[in-house]
Symmetry: C2
Amino acid sequence: MLLFERSEYLARVTRVKKAMAEKGIDVLLIASPANQFWLTGYDGWSFYTPQMVVVNSTEEEPLWIGRKMDSVGAKFTAFLAERNVLPYPDNYVGSSELHPIQFVAEELQRRGWDRGRVGVETDDYYYTAKWDAILRHGLPNCEFVDAFLLVNRCRMVKSDRELDYMRQAGRIAAAAQQAAFDKAQPGVRQCDVMAELYRVTTAGLPEFGGTFPCKPPNAMVGEYCAAPHLSWTDAPLEKEDLFYIEMGGVRHRYHSPLSRCIYLGKPTERMDFVAKVIAEGLNAVLEKVRPGVLCEELAAAWKAVISRYGIEKDSRIGYPVGIGFPPTWGELTASLRAGDKTVMEKNMTFHCIPAIWMEKYGLVISESFAVTDKGAECFADFPRVLLSKA
Amino acid sequence: MLLFERSEYLARVTRVKKAMAEKGIDVLLIASPANQFWLTGYDGWSFYTPQMVVVNSTEEEPLWIGRKMDSVGAKFTAFLAERNVLPYPDNYVGSSELHPIQFVAEELQRRGWDRGRVGVETDDYYYTAKWDAILRHGLPNCEFVDAFLLVNRCRMVKSDRELDYMRQAGRIAAAAQQAAFDKAQPGVRQCDVMAELYRVTTAGLPEFGGTFPCKPPNAMVGEYCAAPHLSWTDAPLEKEDLFYIEMGGVRHRYHSPLSRCIYLGKPTERMDFVAKVIAEGLNAVLEKVRPGVLCEELAAAWKAVISRYGIEKDSRIGYPVGIGFPPTWGELTASLRAGDKTVMEKNMTFHCIPAIWMEKYGLVISESFAVTDKGAECFADFPRVLLSKA
């Protein structure tokens, strides 16, 4: 099943070719599974063996090159004509003699695409040093150009249907946070709360289903709340425990993250104070959102609020969000922080996550939103407070 | 909380140093999050920003280098002394001017570790071409040596406690497959079946909790069953639907995969036949398992069975399994297939997944097991059949 019309995929290809032309790139080799998904629709958990999507500036469709058994999945999920789905045999998998990227280089040679300027995503998670060495060796007549984030940047402005998926993901996220809140109480194991959350993100809502996230929730309890990216345990919750939950709702690989904290008791004055500062700062950021505003201006709006209360934060407060493949749902193209001059455009999407990390714990209230002419459109509808139950 | 005693971590470091010595490596730079976890205990979902573990052959403990906010998590989860946890500031994150790997290179210089032979995991998912270029530029006096899979190979033989975690993971896997089977019936959405499965893998059992998997189940219904690595949808199940489920139980990042198919009806003769051949072939493989046996001998045992029934399969039937970080729970060191001379040793662990892919669908029955003196010890206890319900 194609998630988008062929015309939408072709418009994406056109957008990428334009960016290629600006850098003088003739052939673009895409390693990022998120970029492959966006550009072709291909959607399988097969990227643990090498696979690439190739865009030639003179061809209408990209080329998908992957493991033979996964070419079947390409026929179901990618908009590509069958001739543009190229399988390599299974003896290339996990072999010390053969490497799938050799196959890619040889295929480019066969097609006479081994000339001119080749763009590669030098710092993408899946573009290893070995791939790069094999390609440079196998394509000696090519000039290699860094195209890291070239496609990511093309992904930033979403189509209407992409926004619909992110809205649905936001509704799932809110339902999952609610389920976690409902389940959390002293005596219940942390993992049982997270099981409820996963049940909802996977099942989704009656109107549309959920799916798997590209990363687990960062969900910590007690002293672990001092560290942003740890995980829950199977210990039972206790009175006065703080449960930090950063998670995402997902619809067709589109993620809408949403973060809240749950306190099992009456929050201390300090907690209550910090949570209110976060909410006020977040609201100030959201009110600032408009096409034309710079990322650093959002960071400044945040800083103006927290400085007034004597609070500091030295890490960024957000990033563009959308399609997620492991290890992240971030688009990697910009940061909401001082010095980032990225201009917000209509239908770009961000996750603003202004967590405050103190010595013993962290607190967070986050929202994912689209940039619209009227301001920020948040994907979830959930109270911007430190949740608590006695 | 440390999952293992300090002495066990130090024994792992010793094992790695021995492998380094065999390749004449003075300093090993580890990019793989699974290898970092195994060697230090560090366990956070923070590897979407660069982090490395460094083993110097002359130092007792490795060094962890990562983002400042994640150094807190290192103090909770890694066995390392505080002085061996090195944070880089947040302005290195997602920056076009600064790269965290520059920080790594500079730190090695500061310590005088920028001489001799440096091992790098050239084809690890997280060791990008860019990292490699920065390191080579920043460490001009080092000789670079490929150390891909060096640590992975050290991980193959498990300790008693590691095996305990995999046994627990196997029990969770069986419970989750049972929950999926119980939930599946015509009219129920695919995503609601998977929600039950996720509920169980996350909650675990009353005696011990579950957690998140490093990859989602490959779970397909209907025509999608022809492709090995696709995903479920939110369509309702129908009579005569086949549900293919490859999933893993998880305990502390240790995965025990288990795969089964569910047929909603009376299986066709062909399905029934193929499923029985798979079970017979799998049993033949498991009966062959002993220390000293070669991986290719297991593949041969499988092939002897299926050839007798006129069935062919051109892809490998399994691989070593254990710690999982995205995108895989495979250890990447060996394959159960013809030509693989890897010698099975006691307490190595494998996932044997002899799926048969036909034109319209695939069938699978898989088991994860440890190599013991008495043969294969399977981690899950679940019927080796094509499950069906009318």
